[in-house]
Symmetry: C2
Subunit: 425 residues, 2 copies
């Protein structure tokens, strides 16, 4: 039988798992991604805090698809500008591709909830370049503070506000807490550790709300031990001229705000249909990941909204959902007896600093060093799924154990934008 | 006795060697650098060709100066905006520092010989961010070419012109030749290796003119084996709209031009004196590295112009000169019997691809694999002079031996410039 053309938009956890497992005798598979690499979002905060280098959590897609299990998969770099659901076409800045079936697997980006210009003033952690920028800004703030004689400006330079108490917020706040506790004394003799202030702000009444109450409480305790000020039940309203204003009227003067408070599906311009994305810019799918109302279109991972009795508001937007949906869709597209998707919750975890974590695995709650070891193990295993990751492992272990500061590199990007068509976004 | 204040502008080979060896009982030493890291220029071409990651050749200065031999040395990040030779002050965007003695050790930057706007259109290799940009652009060209159906545009995208036949030009051309020979087939199935064209253009009649004629000839032969077209005696006149025009009237259509054709001293605005920089923007110094006509000002390394009977046009602008001048000045400033500088030529070398090189060590000429081993040894030894370089060594060996393509990461910088004062220039 003639091969059918499957296009997957996004080389993340969902897209790669789908491409790896689908029957390549039956499908001619193309992965389209705006980047030439797969990245590992759970560790973006490590790049932002100078703990890992970008290359340790980024894997060129061309190298991945050279693997045995990907034989027959093609990679096209490109930013999708339009999808025509009627004509079955995908348009990028470079080409127009035709598909028989199309899978949206592009994940999410930052949600600034309409606060004007906020994206220009805060730093974010939803991609490797964003994490690198965040690293540079943190380092720049410390350098400037170490030279600044004006106490008021100095305080602003040394105040780091993290907005959002989910895993990303907790993890970056913990990493900043460790800078305050361990790095300042060692590397910035002109700064007193007490001058640095790390504030984590969360709108609800608990950290890590997706996890159990014991994890929330342990995270709070862990962060407080790292000298992070956690402010619960507080919502940021604006951030202007270096001052965060909250809805309760309070303010914090800070030169650095790291925004982890919300995500939204990567937007797609889909023409030839009246169907629109649902809330959170996610595409509503049935239990076979088929987008409702658009034939031959699928969505998996964070960008899919699959509402089931177990998950009436959609499935959690985490790596496991994307991996499992990718695998299930691969199975369904490779067989004639499609199986509805069923999510297996493998638990969730978050680190608090470099040697403790919290984890909820089924009904089991872990915390402290044991949870951290579990966290490390799970992430290393996932990373080792990528090709040639021995070096990453060695690197990581080395940096982690030696508390290495060798990655505290403020590498400003070159002034000129990339040539040709790569800079649009 | 009271300590005197010594300021060193530039944390490169010269500045670090001076700071390491100077008597810190006698001198209160501050290193001022626009970056927070020391970098290793001989390997910039490796970053540009995705062979090494930026962090492997960049070393945070704060970590370096924590070393035992640096005790008492302070690091200040900052871009020097003015030096007042009369008042003995150094101004950066953050502060004004007073000095008793000042050392210029800032090295060189690209020289575009006044060709208008050239810096906007070509890629360069004089800093880590420039090398990262070059890497991104090379990768972007290959991605776009692999999708481009128009044969004329495809040819332009796949033509890489390197201007300048010195070590940097030879090394990056060799690395691009290896992409053509080995990488294209493996990772870009939509491109035929023969479609890629690498042209190295040199204005004089030989490559590596600073080395002996046998090295020049071996480099030429080596590059030709890597399928690099070497064009000698050809001078670029302009580069506009994707076309390189030479003074002989010839043209090459190429989307990518890598410029290694000239360097010039990093400019300094020195007030309170009538003395100006000499040719190549270098500061004329006596044999004690004292800048002629400006009391208490020294210059070492690439930015110093020391003309002696042996070197009537100044010393070679290479790492060894900087290292030796830094050490000699350290000795002179630590003792009451200053010794004139004497350059010990330890030879010079350049790689051609990943397993051959040319080297001239005294009267000995080496080439091929033996020279490459010598090259590797010398650079590893120098790198190992930095702290905690075991990991770099492991990484490097691994990547080199496995021909790893794991660093072929097109990481576009974030759109927004760095906050506050870091983005000038």
């Amino acid at each position: 039988m003639d091969k059918q053309k499957l296009i997957i938009i996004g080389g993340g956890f969902g897209g790669l798992n789908l491409a790896r497992r689908i029957d390549k005798e039956r499908w001619d598979v193309t992965i389209v991604d705006r980047n030439n690499y797969h990245s590992f979002p759970p560790l973006f905060y490590q790049v932002a805090s100078s703990g890992l280098e970008p290359a340790s959590i980024s894997f060129p897609l061309r190298r991945e698809v050279r693997g045995r299990k990907f034989r027959g998969v093609t990679f096209h770099m490109g930013e999708v500008t339009e999808i025509n659901a009627e004509r079955h076409t995908v348009h990028t800045q470079f080409e127009t591709l035709h598909y028989d079936k199309l899978v949206l697997a592009a994940g999410t980006t930052n949600n600034f909830f309409g606060i004007p210009d906020l994206h220009k003033h805060v730093y974010t952690l939803k991609s490797t370049p964003e994490a690198i920028r965040c690293r540079n800004e943190i380092l720049a703030r410390l350098e400037e503070a170490s030279l600044c004689p004006d106490p008021e400006r100095r305080a602003r330079l040394l105040t780091f506000v993290v907005v959002g108490g989910g895993p990303a917020g907790v993890e970056i706040a913990g990493a900043l807490g460790e800078v305050k506790r361990y790095i300042i004394k060692r590397e910035y003799p002109a700064i007193e550790p007490d001058e640095m202030r790390v504030v984590l702000v969360e709108g609800t009444d608990a950290l890590l709300r997706a996890m159990g109450p014991r994890s929330s409480a342990d995270a709070l305790k862990g962060l407080e031990q790292l000298l992070v000020e956690v402010q619960l039940g507080r919502t940021m309203k604006t951030y202007d001229e270096g001052v965060v204003t909250f809805t309760d009227g309070g303010t914090i003067a800070a030169e650095t705000v790291i925004w982890t408070a919300g995500v939204t599906g990567v937007p797609f311009n889909i023409t030839g249909t009246d169907v629109k994305a649902s809330f959170g810019n996610r595409w509503e799918v049935d239990e076979f990941n088929q987008v409702k109302g658009i034939p031959d279109l699928y969505a998996i991972g964070d960008i899919a909204l699959m509402m089931t009795p177990d998950y009436p508001k959609g499935h959690p937007q985490v790596a496991q959902t994307a991996i499992q949906m990718g695998r299930n869709l691969a199975r369904n597209l490779s067989s004639d007896k499609p199986k509805p998707f069923k999510y297996h919750d493998k638990g969730s975890m978050a680190t608090i600093g470099r040697n403790r974590a919290v984890a909820d695995i089924g009904k089991v709650h872990l915390s402290g060093f044991v949870a951290w070891m579990a966290w490390l193990f799970v992430h290393l295993m996932t990373l080792l799924g990528m090709r040639n990751r021995a070096v990453v492992l060695i690197n990581w272990t080395w940096n982690y154990c030696t508390f290495s500061t060798g990655l505290r590199l403020l590498m400003r990007p070159e002034r000129y934008p990339l040539r040709t068509h790569w800079n649009e976004k």
